[in-house]
């Protein structure tokens, strides 16, 4: 393989051009003709279809997007056994060959960008722009980790003294269980899978039950690109399949993105060795957040208001990185609250396929109920600055809401809500805001709007978050530019799309060879 050009992000669609927008409805119509998709259990060359589980359109719950079987414990056992057997082949291939498969998969996705985005529009109610970004991010992960794996394969530099040759190389850990979420249905599944595969691990992928349809093209792309069928299994299913995977003695690495309770459950289960287990399981976890945006008195509100509103309400707040709280300096709090409320009041709540939509429905009825519970709590404990109503009846819509004046111990201020509900608090100053952030269990993303460089330095020093965004929105991390992942209970500090990510999938081995023979260095 020739030298690869340097990594560059896949350009998102230039939707400000009418001609580009015009292609979208065609892509959706083409997709609709194929619905519902059938997503089989895929293990090696075998596949088994079924109709036990359905994924549906969150904006039109009668529309079935994908049908699939529910992976069983025996599917899990067979998938892991197959993946374990495949380690020898895939894991021993030269890094460049594995990278080539990832790059071919990237190309496969690239050729189907619009259709894939359409699928996300339907299955996850991702508005077009966000759906397209997700597809691009999936491509980015493949391109980025392909390069990273080649780099890692060179090993690390060690001290050399006469008479010995010292080498440190990285080897795959074995079978990786990838348990992926629905909110970035292609990108996150792809990033976790590609990271494991690039470094020579084999993968059993258990996608979220809400978005199996989006996982299918990922597996198709990787297999079409040259990943052996045995090295990548797809197990559509529910929590029990995931739990069985986590407990399986032959799973060496568990890569999970999802909620804190499930993440902690995984950490606990992984710590308990099963009979016949040969490795200490490694958990790579990306969990929840309670992301705060700090707004200092000198902030440019013309920038802060749109930044906050899009960070909190795009994709109905269902991003791990979304803004959940604003901590605003008391000197400008009234003005900020008024402007944010006004900007929220004009948000378009609607169906994901409409380009005008800014706030789509949430993923499922239980999510709708959860958000409603927190909204009621916010109304009873504080003041509602704005609630955008009515919202469409059909579909899992939640009224975008901004709450203020909540008591400091309100659960609305501490727990992850994962919906279009933003809380705004007044703080005395930036130091006070940092104390509030420091008091949280989560530390995923954070924002700061301030124009004094000393303030920026201060917040950088004090914030525990994995991703701090200054004078901009706090979502939309780009591969290679904003390595993404949180600290504290937000995760294991893995940084997806960053230079350290692949190290989690490898074990280092040092070899020291004596090069002295009969007193001569040979």
């Amino acid at each position: 393989m020739a030298e690869l050009p340097p990594f560059a992000n896949e350009p998102v669609l230039e939707l400000r051009r009418a001609a580009v927008r015009a292609q979208l409805s065609d892509a959706l119509a083409r997709l609709d003709q194929q619905l519902p998709l059938s997503v089989p259990v895929m293990i090696g060359g075998d596949s088994r279809s079924g109709e036990e589980l359905l994924s549906t359109d969150p904006g039109d719950p009668d529309r079935v997007i994908a049908r699939c079987p529910r992976a069983s414990e025996s599917d899990v056992a067979e998938a892991v056994a197959t993946a374990r057997r495949a380690r020898g082949d895939w894991g021993m291939r030269p890094a460049k060959e594995r990278a080539a498969a990832l790059l071919a998969a990237a190309q496969w996705l690239r050729e189907r960008r619009l259709e894939l985005a359409a699928l996300e529009v339907r299955e996850c109610a991702k508005p077009w722009r966000e759906a397209d970004s997700d597809v691009c991010e999936a491509i980015d992960f493949l391109e980025y980790y392909a390069r990273g794996a080649i780099e890692l394969d060179r090993g690390a530099a060690l001290l050399q003294v006469p008479g010995e040759r010292n080498e440190l190389d990285y080897f795959p850990r074995g079978v990786a269980a990838v348990i992926s979420p629905w909110n970035f249905p292609l990108a996150i599944a792809c990033g976790m899978t590609a990271g494991a595969l690039a470094t020579g691990n084999t993968v059993v992928l258990k996608p979220a039950e809400q978005s199996p349809g989006c996982a299918l093209p990922l597996v198709q792309a990787l297999r079409a690109g040259g990943v052996p069928a045995d090295a990548l299994a797809l197990l559509p299913g529910e929590g029990d399949a995931g739990a069985a995977l986590v407990r399986h003695p032959d799973v060496a690495t568990i890569v999970f993105t999802g909620s804190l309770p499930v993440g902690l459950e995984i950490v606990r289960a992984a710590a308990e060795p099963a009979d016949g287990q040969r490795e200490i399981k490694r958990v790579v976890a990306e969990l929840g957040g309670k992301n705060c945006v700090i707004v200092d008195a000198d902030a440019d509100l013309d920038e802060a208001v749109p930044g906050i509103v899009s960070s909190a309400f795009a994709y109905a707040g269902q991003k791990c990185s979304a803004a959940a709280r604003v901590l605003v300096h008391e000197a400008i709090a009234d003005q900020l609250i008024e402007r944010v409320a006004g900007a929220v009041r004009v948000l378009v709540v609607g169906h994901a396929q409409e380009l005008e939509t800014e706030v789509p429905p949430v993923i499922e009825s239980s999510a709708q109920e959860r958000v409603a519970r927190y909204a009621e709590l916010a109304a009873s404990q504080g003041r509602i600055a704005v609630r955008v109503e009515p919202v469409p009846d059909r579909g899992w819509f939640c009224p975008p809401t901004v709450a203020t004046d909540l008591p400091p111990d309100s659960p609305v201020l501490a727990e992850e809500i994962f919906g279009p509900l933003l809380a705004i608090d007044r703080v005395r100053d930036v130091e006070h805001a940092c104390d509030v952030v420091d008091g949280l269990r989560f530390a995923l993303t954070g924002g700061l709007f301030a124009r004094d460089p000393a303030t920026v330095r201060y917040v950088r020093r004090r914030t525990p978050v994995g991703n701090l965004y200054v004078n901009r929105g706090i979502t939309g991390a780009m591969v290679g530019r904003q390595p993404f992942g949180g600290n504290r209970l937000s995760g294991t500090g893995s940084k997806a799309g960053g230079p350290d990510y692949l190290r989690q999938f490898v074990e280092p081995r040092a070899v020291s060879e004596n090069t002295m023979r009969h007193g001569l260095v040979v």
């Binding site: 350009p11 400000r16 009418a18 006004g342 900007a343 460089p453």
Partner: protein
Amino acid sequence: MTGVSVDPASIDRDELERHIREIGGELAAAFPSSARHPMRALDARAMDFASSDQQLKAALFRFVDVTPACRSLDDLARHLRDLLEEVPEAPPPIAAAMRIAHTRAGRTALGAAAAAGVKHMAHRFIVAESPAEALAGLRALWDRGVASSVDLLGEATVTEPEADHYANRCDEALEQIATASPRWASRPTLEADSSGPIPRANVSVKISALTPLLRADAPERGRRDAAGRLRPLLRHARELGAHVHIDMESLDSREAVLELVLELLIEPEFLEGPSAGLVLQAYLRDSPDQAARILEWARTSPRSSPLQVRLVKGAYWDHELVQARQHGWPTPVFEVKAECDRNFEELTVRLLQSRPAVRVAIASHNLRSVANAIAASRMLGGEDRDLELQVLRGLGDELQDALASLGMRVRTYCPVGDLVAGMAYLVRRLLENTSNESFLSEQARGTPLEVLLAAP
């Protein structure tokens, strides 16, 4: 309509160049002599520093930008100090300022000085805080043979009440100027061209301020919402006999703005007025297509007064470049200044050839670009009154007077608003003025006239 489409190539190039040198020379000679260095329009010394050191320039611009958000002189001085601390090798006067800023009394003094400095700069570019206060200035301009267009500066519009407020301010400005301007003395050059009378009252309007709903990906909704506020303005302008000009902003909003204007102006109630105009940005690579679209519309438009097309290079060059790079999109703007300038000249000729279906306004401070317009207009057989030249207050003051002294119709764009509202505008103008590639800084550096007037 004289729209016999003349191929630009049919203008004799050598002759055109000769005319350009001649007209450019005349204009330069008509500049007030103390004004050979238009950079003095800025706080000259600060700008000299700033232009010589990129980091210092960045720090000073960021300071100007944050000024209205500072709550006290102490706060202001603290910001200045913290921003200057980012500059690795501050020149001695700056280092002295920073030492002062470490005591409270020092900060108060420094803050007061800095506030005065920013205010002074702002007044170069912003005529007054309100239209009522601007009236005297507009009249003074008129008396020296200069027409005006008033632009109401505002913070970004993110809510409906903000959009209503902006619309009301535009409406009041129209009313006040239209009420005051009939008392101005008669100025035939400024009041009529071959197509008929030209309104004295002229307001420039930004669509992004008329609606909180502009979205690049979904232009229709913002367009509908803005239409709801633009229609009453157009009606009022029609009753008052005033001109409404729609500014062009970044590419993200271009489709909404252009389609909105072209759609509204041919609604039956607006066929007989008001006089209206829009903007074509020559820095955009696809501007020739936009020109074609606008000219086609103008040729088939049933309106009684011709659309005025203001040709500009474009004020969002860095923004367009950065945004495209960040997204991996093809750059929508020319990246070589000379290509932009050539395109500007070609579009100038094309617009001039399309008279009288359109009224042509050439908005530039570049002597070459302006001289080209005057020369081409004359070579195409046009009368001088069928070409309008436009400049920005604070940047084009000398050119404005030179053009007026040559008997050309010149209109000065006059921003009105308070400092907070004007800050984005002010910072853009400062950046533009100190950019190495700008005509004004070349001129200020003392580049010889022949070079300034050379073909791009």
